[in-house]
């Protein structure tokens, strides 16, 4: 728990942890989604919900609708497919043409299975690495881990954070808003 403590002399103020945001803890997913929706309606944009399982309504409520992941996966698949086919084409037609049973050098139907496997392999890598990269994972430290009871976010508790970097952020107003939304607890989160 921190406040921007005005009692400290200026040369010691850097020791006071900066504030990441205010976090409210909820008992049910419905409370969390309602609170997120209300905060968004009031104009807060740098808000985030934390839940033990994916809740579609939650990311809709905080205004996070689109992700670039499908495009990344598509490009991954495209690159994999083209690379897979032309790898075979180059090796079997250009670099080392070999007559196998009188088949044409560019016997493309026979190249399709490996082209397909390369497509899937690269697209799958794009999906996994793309998801991790967009989520900025691995990330060993994050301010929300400082919040009391946050370990319950992977069990049965639901959290909403309004971040201090929000343009509309005013500490007292935010605390008051979150308290009015029926939380179990409201606390400050240090950076």
């Amino acid at each position: 728990m921190t406040d921007s403590s005005p009692t400290l002399p200026p040369h010691r103020r850097h020791l006071v942890p900066k504030l990441y945001g205010v976090m409210a803890e909820f008992a049910t997913p419905s409370d969390l989604v309602a609170a997120a929706r209300r905060s968004y309606e009031l104009g807060y944009r740098r808000i985030n919900g934390y839940s033990p399982y994916p809740i579609e309504e939650l990311w809709e409520a905080i205004g996070f609708h689109r992700t670039g992941l499908p495009l990344i996966v598509f490009l991954g698949g495209l690159v994999g497919g083209l690379a897979g086919f032309f790898m075979q084409y180059w090796m079997e037609v250009i670099n080392y043409p070999l007559n196998v049973g009188g088949k044409p050098f560019n016997s493309w139907p026979a190249f399709i299975p490996i082209t397909f496997e390369c497509t899937v392999l690269c697209a799958a890598f794009a999906a996994v690495l793309g998801m991790l990269a967009l989520n900025k994972l691995p990330q060993p430290y994050h301010p929300v881990f400082n919040a009391p009871n946050f370990a319950m976010a992977t069990r049965d508790r639901f959290f909403l954070v309004i971040e201090a970097s929000d343009r509309k952020y005013n500490h007292d107003e935010v605390v008051q808003l979150l308290k009015s939304l029926g939380p179990l607890d409201v606390s400050d989160v240090d950076v």
Binding site: S30, V120, A124, L137, P138
Partner: protein, 448 residues
């Protein structure tokens, strides 16, 4: 759906689901049967190491393979294991796309089974090479011989298919585990477990933005894994079908092999989950609904496989080709006929019991049927490989095949290796996907 059994015990909550599954890994005392089971599996695993050592020291002659039967039970076991693996991908990917909620409590386990089975499968073709230390020649890498692999061969397709399948299955599994690693990290009491699960969780914190991308990635991976799993066994079947051997050169092979793989895989899932849910008290998660559904999948794929056998015989007769005709006659009446009829008994006759609801509801019966089907699928590959090769065209080049004790050691050893991995998985990772179980709880509904 007329089966009224629920997908999940209605009394469960977020907290109880989390605690119950994570306590198996973190809190509960490791049961004595775990140590016994692990010890036996590990011993058999050592038998595999011995068999491999013998093989590498002496050479491939320690196996029973020779011309004309150059693909003995080694390639058989490759196909058998990889087929078993397919049920895991089917459950985790195809049933996800079909929005089958009942998959949720068995997908993690089935995916683990896939990975461990593919690990066994992958060893066989490599050791069957004769000079397995040159296995990397299969990959297209720039080399001093300035040659490239021959990509028109299904054996090359196999290299790409199996290695892609293993990689994608491992990634799918790991992505599925990520939120559960975070759960374990937050529940673990001891420092080493906190650190290890913490590193594996990569800092997962359940952020809504993360979940959105995560769900998208998971869905896309499922969409990619679905055609992949079909392609893998199709390509495995093409290893045979592209060859001109009577009994192999048939267009029915791809669908017939894929169905057989799913059939064998579900048999293995049932074989493993029926005792597991009992000993870990997971009847609330893996309910009778699951048993009924898996039995139905087995019945359906079993019928497709049965159709495949009938068509093989029909093609043999209808082709008018004397070698094809002789092949099917030889299967039914030749020296390996007992294998053929045992196969028919195991794979066509036995699953017919699954038509009856009483049988599907009887766990002992279901378990026994799954054992019989697993043996049947092994026999199927024996019949396809050995009876086709041992008498092909010229009677002067006919021969007989008998697996040696090193063949059997290797096979029994891979079963030991498979169970070794499985026991470690049960002990150290959540065998049921915790976060996905939360999503199917009644309290997960968001009320507007």
């Amino acid at each position: 759906m007329h089966t009224t059994a629920p997908v999940i015990d209605p009394g469960l909550t977020f907290a109880s689901v989390t605690d119950k599954i994570s306590s198996i890994v973190l809190k509960r005392k490791t049961p004595i049967w775990w140590f016994i089971g692990f010890a036996i599996s590990f011993m058999l695993f050592q038998l595999m190491m011995l068999a491999i050592t013998q093989l590498l020291f002496v050479g491939i002659g320690v196996w029973g393979v020779n011309i004309p039967v150059a693909w003995g039970i080694d390639i058989l076991n490759f196909v058998w294991w990889i087929g078993i693996g397919h049920a895991g991908t089917l459950i985790s990917a195809i049933l996800l796309l079909l929005r089958q909620k009942w998959r949720t409590s068995i997908n993690r386990f089935a995916e683990a089974m896939t990975l461990f089975a593919v690990a066994q499968a992958g060893m066989y073709p490599i050791f069957h090479l004769g000079r397995p230390w040159l296995a990397y020649w299969l990959f297209p890498y720039p080399n001093t011989m300035t040659i490239w692999p021959q990509f028109r061969s299904p054996l090359m397709w196999d290299v790409f298919a199996v290695s892609t399948y293993a990689t994608v299955s491992a990634m799918f599994w790991f992505v599925g585990l990520l939120p559960d690693f975070a759960t374990l990290r937050d529940r673990a009491r001891s420092k080493p477990f906190q650190i290890i699960y913490g590193m594996l969780a990569m800092g997962w914190r359940g952020s809504a933005r993360h979940w959105h991308r995560y769900e998208m990635a998971y869905l896309l991976l499922a969409g990619l894994a679905t055609p992949l799993v079909l392609s893998v066994h199709t390509i495995v079947s093409l290893d045979f079908a592209v060859g001109i051997i009577p009994g192999w050169h048939a267009t029915i092979f791809p669908p017939y092999f894929v169905a057989g793989a799913i059939y064998a895989g579900f048999a293995m899932v049932l074989f493993l989950t029926i005792p597991l849910r009992k000993v870990y008290g997971l009847e609330g998660f893996i309910t009778m609904r699951h048993m009924h559904n898996m039995a139905k999948v087995m019945l359906a794929t079993g019928l497709i496989v049965g159709y495949g056998y009938i068509m093989e015989a029909f093609f043999g007769w209808y082709s008018g080709n004397k070698f094809e005709r002789y092949m099917i006659w030889n299967r039914m009446h030749g020296p390996y006929a007992p294998y053929y009829w045992a196969l028919i008994l195991c794979n066509i006759i036995t699953p017919q019991f699954l038509w009856f609801k009483r049988v599907r509801g009887n766990l002992l019966m279901l378990w026994l049927i799954s054992v019989v089907v697993s043996i049947g699928m092994w026999l199927e590959r024996f019949v396809i490989i050995v009876t086709s090769l041992h008498r092909d065209f010229l009677p002067s080049s006919w021969g007989m095949y008998e697996p040696t004790r090193w063949d059997w050691s290797m096979f029994i050893g891979t079963i030991g290796f498979f169970f070794t991995l499985l026991f470690l998985f049960l002990r150290f990772l959540p065998m049921i996907s915790i976060f996905e179980m939360r999503t199917i709880l009644p309290e997960a509904e968001v009320e507007e």
